[in-house]
Symmetry: C2
Subunit: 300 residues, 2 copies
């Protein structure tokens, strides 16, 4: 079983109160893929420019991620994002965004990719996300992310997308914006009523909440004292979650909850280094060890 | 086994985006006592004025709370607090504070009360909290709360207090103020290094974290969609926690963790009504039912 992800692949410059790193491998589909690769084979669909370093592609290939769907545009430049984190390491300021080739991203899937059963639509223009859905008619589980920009600018498209997906993974701020309520326990159900069969609300350092017709629960984040760079935490959460679901080829309530936990733990590793630096140093065993610790933490 | 609590007893006026209630029974020791009364016999030491309604005292007595240590000052007026919650129901603005008789609060314990084994020093002037400790030399478990005001104005006293208590229960903002770090997983350990054997950091709607020499964990809040009035949530958390520890007459790591869970659940009921309104409608059975649900929520 393999997992298809469609989304951004970027080059990031990240500034934190302690340090700055340039030319990091970034992007939503990248963080997602890397996280999911600990669980299953991942097929990444994205677009980059000629400036995209070969070493970045190697980094993905080394984890077994299929990058044959990563289009390289001749003469084009890769999506670039520069951000600065505030001392609280939660709030961040976007210093510069250059969409470049990602601005015209029009994913066309190969025949093989169109057979995908597990699909994640990383944050992107909702109409493009729906064009991907058009190409995977046999998909068993389609989960999407979105962001405030699309909710504000293309709300109708977002609502149409919600009717077509099985699951939605969003931030707390997005849930509040969508529903107009600040009570997340309420917001989750309201968003679910907009279409998705299940909704996950990510709360950053406070964990994540899950909502389906018959269930609502919250799991805390794994408390790490080494928060180096939160970039990609949400995408690696989704990658861990979807990776585990694909590995299990199952998304019943019990498997979904365990998948949430894996997502939380993979994200906790992701933030412990700049870009994918920490993720490159861990193995599935490290994730399993942290899972055992996490289970222990939550049992009393 | 009984539990001694020393702190404020107040009359609150609370304004939320939806409603306003005046003359509610409030105060840190009150919310604490009421929450703890589901688990153990509570002895409340505080001070009120002549204006304090008899019905408020009856409310406490009906739950078996011993109010013989509640001093009524002739001609005095009770501590009054008026606050307004923002639409997010987290941030609040203090519109008016009248310390009144609480400004000269000088708790003198009866001989019987001096034998207390379990003591909670609700938020108050640190020097007064220490005067209480002087009077309970045989105390087995002394836990205190504090607030930003004392950390800012009487930091030396706060540090001296920390050397003398077993446990400390504070908010996330207080932990950040004490340590200068915004990473709570780090802050908890730093506060513990200031003296207390264990530290609990309350995160409001996001739950609570526990730190001791050998343990660190986080438990999420119980997600309630009916947040009516958050006043006293932290005190009822501490009351549920200390109440359970006193009932068990034990504070080993396992019992402490279960106590944290009880604190979280009692607090979740507390916020579902103005003042103590919701608490008056629940029984220990309701708390146990929610605990079962909470355990289920955290197991996967």
């Amino acid at each position: 079983m393999s997992l298809l992800v469609v989304g951004s692949v970027a080059i990031d410059n990240v500034e934190t109160p302690d340090a700055r790193r340039d030319d990091l491998l970034g992007g939503s589909a990248t963080h997602f893929s890397y996280a999911a690769s600990f669980f299953t084979r991942v097929r990444l669909v994205g677009v980059v420019g000629e400036d995209f370093p070969r070493t970045h592609i190697d980094l993905l290939s080394q984890r077994g991620i299929d990058t044959s769907g990563l289009q390289v545009v001749s003469g084009g430049r890769t999506f670039r994002w520069t951000g600065r984190y505030q001392p609280n390491m939660n709030d961040r300021e976007t210093l510069d965004v250059q969409l470049n080739v990602f601005g015209q991203f029009d994913p066309v899937l190969s025949d093989d990719y169109r057979l995908a059963k597990y699909v994640f639509l990383a944050n992107g223009v909702p109409s493009v996300q729906m064009k991907v859905l058009d190409q995977v008619p046999g998909c068993r589980l389609a989960v999407a992310d979105t962001m405030e920009l699309w909710i504000e600018q293309t709300r109708d498209d977002v609502m149409e997308l919600f009717q077509r997906i099985d699951g939605l993974v969003i931030n707390d701020s997005e849930a509040k914006l969508l529903t107009g309520t600040t009570n997340l326990a309420l917001a989750g159900h309201l968003v679910r009523a907009m279409g998705p069969k299940f909704v996950v609300i990510k709360k950053g350092e406070h964990g994540a909440m899950f909502f389906s017709e018959h269930e609502m629960y919250v799991l805390p984040a794994y408390p790490t004292s080494r928060v180096v760079d939160p970039t990609g935490a949400g995408d690696s959460f989704a990658g861990g979650m979807m990776g585990y679901l694909t590995e299990q080829d199952n998304f019943d309530p019990k498997t979904l909850k365990t998948a949430m936990a894996y997502g939380i733990l993979v994200a906790s590793f992701n933030v412990e280094g700049f870009g994918l630096e920490r993720m490159q140093k861990i193995s599935r065993d490290d994730i399993e060890a942290r899972l055992a610790e996490y289970r222990q933490m939550l049992s009393f």
